[in-house]
Amino acid sequence: MSDGTPPAETSSSPEEVSPPNTGPQDPLQTASATDRMVIEYLRARGHTSAEQALLDALDSGDPDDKGKGPETSTISTEELVKRLAVYAQKPSRPGENVLNDSGNVLQELTTMGNPTNIQNLIASIGAVGAEEILSLDPTDKQDGFTELEAWVDGSLDMYRPEFRPILFPIFCHFYLDLIQSGFKEAALKFFKTFASPLAPAHSATLHHLSTLFLPSHVQNDDLAQRFRNEKYVVRMSRSGFGLLIGWLTEGVGGEATGAGEGFSGERGKRGRAAVMRVVNNHLRFDVTASNTSSVSPNAWEESTGLLSSLIPQANGASANLTNPQVFNSSNGELKLGPAPVPEELRLEAERVLREQAVVERDPSVQYDSFSLRPAVQGVVAPSESDLPPLPPTFKTIDVNREVEKVRDARKRIRLEPSALTSVDLNSPQSGAARARALPSICAYTLHDAGEGAPCSTFSADISLMAAGFAESYIRIWSLKGEKLKGLRSDFQASSIRDSASIQKIREKGGSSTRKLIGHSGPVYSLSFDPLSGSAGPPKYLLSASADATARLWSLDTMTNIVAYRGHQNPVWDIQWNPMGIYFATGSRDRTARLWSTDRTSCLRVYAGHLKDVDCLKFHPNSLYLATGSSDWTARLWDVQRGSCVRVFIGHQGTVSSLAISPDGRYLASAGEDLAINLWDLGSGRRIKKMTGHTASIYSLAFSEESSLLVSGGADWTVRCWDVKGTGGPVVKPRENGSMGNGDSTIVRYGDGDNNETTDLLSTFPTKRTPIINVQFTPRNLCLVAGTYQTPDSR
């Protein structure tokens, strides 16, 4: 967003000034630095003013210097001087040769540990260099972080929301530094002291880091390596950034009062130097031009974090894109309009509708694609050639589907959540407004589900419900109570002449439920084929399972007809293309794949996510595929080209569920951070964040008008959200002095019971049923399914 503007240049300069320690030229550079260090040290005894001058020179040079080679070495030397000056002033320090004595210095300074071990450690480090040794000192990290925290907490209220996010990356780097250097206890102590205030927002990452104990872990762990190798993007306003630089260099700026004062001496300086090192090496500031007060508190975290690897590389470009907005806008316009209906099919459907209109004496039934789905303003509709290849001719089933769509559109219950916002909740009109705004929800509760049902789905005509079970089987129920009869296999092919003779070879008897057996692992996702729409029962069912296969089941024969192998790992999600024929799967192997039912190998592999693809959804016009991943991002892929066209960064946890609005404009994503984000597909920007759920969100669904979002989750509730509403946290009048400390003035998300945003229209609790599936019928009836948990079950 602001990358091209001067402030961004400002932001990038400090990091360029001091290159990372881990470069290939590192030994050379440190060797020369060691030499210089001796000289500098001898000079530095008592010459603190000279050092200060150097510091000042650095500060003034910051904005316009472009980080040339000489500069870099000066900086690192200068840092050494600064640190050595501290030792020089210690009275107990014997004034001998530094190189012989570095072990002793550490011995004095480390508060814990056995001297011989430290010496061993230093011996093992050997010639790596004094800078390395000095950076090993665990106490300055502790001091530095204490002071940084005090500075952030002591800063003005208006700056605090933007300063707070920098605590987390610095904490992580300090912790990883300590572990990397083998200071396990110091690291644990550090973690114990400082982790708790960060825990609410970053619990997943913190927990992961806390499991790393040994340097080898840091080297082998994906997340730790991402912290090491990527820049952590922090967003700041220009004035806030200036204050931070001022504090880092001089210890002033902002309101560094209170607890910070005790460290204003040399120890504080050393701590700040440690902070500075992380800031220079591992942080990147995205400096916004906007005013501090005009940015909402939660916008500071949006599109921040370890971004560079999350954003796909634009075809072969060497430069890492660091802003998702830049990537999203570089991918051009999307064609989000409704898919065109083939001309012949349209004519045929019109004909059938006219005939029916005559029979029913209802001339108002007309096939009109505009009445079906009113044209959405500002989106480009794709042409027929944009669509993935489809059969050239249409069948009766297609005509029936199109005809039924028109009927559904006419008989739909209109839901207008906006009606609710304008009405006083306690007034007598509120009941009528609720009825207009909120859907009727029918809950299907599974009982005695054994080890649990990970997934469930309804067919579009509500004639069938399917559930996949942890015990590797799928069960289908006829919701109409009809008997599900498959075709027998023991018949003479010659005896089949017409549809009547096919009916004859159906099984006798049967019940209203069938068990489909074939998978060898828990079934994680199911999808009924969309071809018959709401006009008739579906013919096929797809399933995805932990056994790394996807399977196609025929509902005529009630058997498995194809197993699609290709994924290496459990397949988490599967969905039909809205036009049928194609389907997509998302797997633990970090890819999503596109398949067609008639081929056993996949057609496209969508690779780019850093972790599991947990969920996916097709865009209603079937040009795009949205995927949600454990790398906390959601992406939008061009189905045919196989390239990523949008990336959505903003969740603070695994993306657990997705929904795309029927009008094709919005993407809703639910994450393990218990928030639902609403994104604009066209621009890739987040529209708003909706919070209120108190446990994982399992399923999302838009109403047919795209005006209402329904979510269901592990907190046994179904919640209705206003898509068009402005949202934002509930602003409560705060009782002054009730909390005492400064925290009470910040509106924070995830704050106990105060986390419901205003666009949460209604919450419908169930008794003890986690909602695993939420779905709207074409006529806007909401269906939800879940497994009842008996109170004694675990």
């Binding site: 540990g113 071990n117 450690l121 093992s124 480090i125 990397q180 083998g182 206890e185 499991t211 790393l212 104990f213 040994l214 872990h217 080297q219 609710l420 304008s422 006083d424 909740l425 009941g431 909120l438 009727s440 929800i441 809950a443 299907y444 509760t445 599974l446 009982h447 005695d448 589900a449 054994g450 080890e451 049902a453 079970f469 942890a470 828990p522 994680y524 790992n569 459990p570 633990r588 599991d612 695994t654 657990s656 393990e672 446990a695 994982s696 399992y698 509403g725 019971d753 419901e756 205003t758 949460l760 229209l761 209604s762 609790p765 169930t766 008794k767 986690p770 695993i772 909401c782 675990r794």
Partner: protein
């Protein structure tokens, strides 16, 4: 990075997996001389690996839409990490870890946990327990919301009244620019309230006061506050608006009768108590504003118990039984039209008490009085056709008089009032009398020809 040197002074707890555990495992493999440095780094590494597996398993847990991790999740995680899963753990049957009793000899050992391994005796299982197959998965459907309102049906959790705080807050909120917030039932404070709201206060304070006053003026019965009691009964008989009290009153009566009869019921006081209670029942029945019908099944037991109890206080017995039978009669006349099965059922009870052997005289008398209360038909059925008189007569000593005999005579009087100028029955009639009602009572009737014929006529007619 070089290999870290663990420190000898590392004694603090670094995590879940302790160095001691490493040492124990090593010793079990025959390695005894592990250095601290090795155990420490091994412990750290083992813990890291465990966390890796658990992190992987948590994904499987999430995708299985559960919030509790099971052994199957760990199994799946091990599988995808290319490690052989641990066999023998079924998620259906989670191992229960138990803490062993502390060893006094080894205080340093710390808590020891073990997996309980229950021994199953097949013989016993096959003999005693019926093994039922689980029903299998099924589903039910219900309306979670109808047009945005959650219906109050058993499938849905009970409605939570809106936060009083919320209500008080919402008017000012609507004045501001912010849209009104819907009630949030998930708030913890609201949940606490839900618990309390389940017991709903039905009785108003006034009714509660009335109830205490009423019951205290009725019982305990002392002769002094006779007026008070009369007033209370009159109030009960005539006052409107006592419907809400009815269940409480009826329970109070029931309890009073039970306690009055239980304590042997020989004392004067008990008799009085019962008398009052019967009066209360009849007062309730007399009150036109009360809708008693739903409570009939609760009113009948006290009446019938009083009627049929074997040993009522002698001073009050006859009066009690008579008034109970009158109350019963009133009850039947009022309600037998709406409950056609009521009188047959009561008659059956009374007949059983009258005819079946080994009942006390009190019970027999009560039964006869009850039958009188039920009506003429019942008396005829019980005493004449059912042979009740015979039974009673055979139990009576010759020439005996008493409440039982009086009751029988009263019953005969119900059938046919004695004539003013009795003339001796003819021998045929006397013979018939002896045959139908037994010698004992035939003697009473034989002096009156009309009466005897009246009593008998029905038998011959039927």
């Amino acid at each position: 990075m070089s290999k870290p040197k663990a420190r000898a002074s590392q004694s603090q707890s670094t995590g879940v997996y302790k160095q001691d555990s490493i040492r124990d495992v090593a010793e079990s493999l025959g390695i005894t001389n592990l250095s601290d440095a090795v155990t420490s780094s091994l412990a750290s590494d083992v813990e890291y690996r465990i966390h890796q597996v658990v992190e992987e398993a948590s994904r499987f847990m999430r995708h299985a839409r559960r919030t509790t991790m099971t052994t199957s999740d760990i199994d799946q995680a091990l599988r995808v990490l290319n490690i052989e899963p641990l066999y023998g753990h079924s998620p259906h049957n989670p191992p229960a870890f138990r803490r062993a009793l502390p060893f006094p000899q080894l205080p340093t050992a710390g808590p020891v946990y073990f997996v309980e391994d229950e021994e199953i005796d097949f013989d016993r299982v096959l003999r005693e327990e019926k093994i039922t197959l689980p029903k299998g998965v099924n589903w039910t459907a219900h309306w979670l919301a109808v047009e945005g309102v959650q219906p109050l049906i058993p499938e849905n959790p009970p409605a939570i009244p809106r936060d009083p705080e919320d209500v008080s807050k919402s008017p000012p909120r609507t004045n501001t620019a912010f849209p009104p917030t819907p009630p949030s039932p998930s708030r913890p404070t609201a949940k606490k309230q839900q618990q309390q709201q389940l017991v709903k206060q039905v009785l108003s304070r006034e009714l509660q006061l009335y109830y205490t006053r009423l019951t205290s003026s009725l019982l305990p019965p002392s002769s002094s506050d006779h007026a008070k009691r009369t007033a209370a009964l009159a109030s009960l008989r005539n006052d409107a608006g006592l419907q809400a009290l009815l269940p409480y009153l009826i329970r109070w009566i029931g309890e009073g009768v039970v306690s009055g009869l239980k304590e042997g019921a020989q004392s004067e006081n008990d008799g009085k108590v019962l008398e009052v209670l019967i009066d209360v029942i009849s007062a309730i029945l007399e009150n036109n504003t009360l809708f008693v019908e739903p409570y009939l099944h609760q009113i009948l037991p006290p009446i019938l118990s009083t009627l049929l109890h074997s040993s009522l206080p002698p001073s009050h017995a006859t009066h009690l039984r008579t008034s109970a039978s009158q109350t019963l009669s009133r009850l039947l006349t009022q309600h037998s039209t709406t409950y056609p099965s009521l009188s047959p059922r009561i008659m059956k009870t009374l007949l059983l008490a009258l005819i079946s052997p080994a009942k006390s005289k009190g019970t027999r008398e009560g039964a006869i009085r009850g039958l009188i209360g039920v009506g003429k038909e019942a008396v005829r059925k019980g005493l004449i056709e059912g042979g009740g008189t015979k039974v009673v007569g055979s139990e009576c000593a010759p020439g005996e008089t008493g409440p039982l005999v009086d009751a029988v005579i009263d019953a005969f009087k119900v059938l046919q009032p004695p004539s003013d100028m009795p003339e001796t029955a003819t021998p045929e009639v006397t013979e018939q009398l002896n045959e139908v009602i037994g010698n004992h009572f035939a003697a009473y009737l034989s002096g009156d020809q009309t009466w005897s014929l009246g009593v008998l006529s029905d038998t011959s007619q039927s």
